[in-house]
Amino acid sequence: MIQLGNSTRGALSRERDVREAYAAHSGELYGFAVRSLGDSGLAEEAVQETFVRAWRAGDRFDPKIGSLRTWLFAILRNVVIDLGRARAVRPSVAEGGVEPAVEPLDEALQAWQMEEAMRRIGEDHRRVLVETYYRGRPYAEVAGELGVPEGTVKSRVYYGLRALRVVLEEMGYED
């Protein structure tokens, strides 16, 4: 796992530390909150609650266990579950006994991670992955459109996957 930021023990116990953590991680946290809650207002609420909880528990953060980013995401995940529960407290839901499952949230996190990784790799790499994988277009056709040899499209697919791997590792992803 790659450590991001200058994390030290009790990294969020002071207001200044929260500001630094916010500057470094709020974009990602917000992105995931929007992705999983599907609502920008709720997402803002979730991010705010995440930083407040992190500040309250600031002394318990230990960079030896994981990065600040990973810790914040773990808190946000709980906040999103809580918000989901709060939304689910409706008669129609209670009747069926449907508890907002953890599974879809983890799927949302995986999806968001991959989408964020895609945003971070180079345009050339993202393009060939979108065309060949997501749109299922033949390599020759994509090569013709881009004006490059077919072999170049294949090598871009390879370097694109490698780049994704590096970015995912930076984001704390582990196999």
């Binding site: 916010y22 991010v47 989408e115 370097y159 694109g160 996957l161």
Partner: protein, 236 residues
Amino acid sequence: MKTRNECREWRELLGAYALGHLEGDERAGLEAHLEGCAGCREELAALTPVAQMLPHADPARFGPAPQPPPELGQRIAATIAAEEQRTQRRQRRRLLGGFAFGGAAAAVAAVLLLFVFGGSSDQKPVQQVRFADLPEGISIDATLEPHAYGTEIHMYVHGVPSGTLCKVWLRGPKGVSYPAGTFRYRWGDDSDAVLSSALDLSRTRAVVVDTGRRTFAAPVNSPAAALDIAHEEEPT
């Protein structure tokens, strides 16, 4: 032993292979190479989980990520600052002996005088003073701590217009006033104003606060004397 260039040619096919896009001779050739090349097998093993994660993503969401509104950070900072002040205030009250006093003063006509002493005998006696009989919506509380230099005063004001300049005095025997300083009340600010006066706490008879339009007083040490002062100082 493979040459580095040969390996690289095969290696650059690993992406398409991991996605299941390689067919025919190319695929057969790469698989034959993989059998004899641990390095390329390792590389494939590193790419496979990434390839397996691709279906989770929605390509319609590869565009710029939504950004939090610029004021969200300030809102969080303000929330934390307010909570920190509340915590400090609670800790202070706990220190004073766990006595809880609330915001809006109950409709108590009589002036209240409260002595609160620390839990153990070696602690300095701290006096908690409540301003009673205030207009509705306004609350004023104070704690007084004795020091060698005089008295330390913590003022908690609520409900007067934001920006109100408050002047504070301690009143001694024979009505002599000792200035304790000024502070400004800001709406939403939960913190206490810390002031000090040269008058000894043991000689202090009242705390007086001038909020511009009104002057309020609360008795200290002597309930009898206090009632007089409160009467004298009420609505100007």
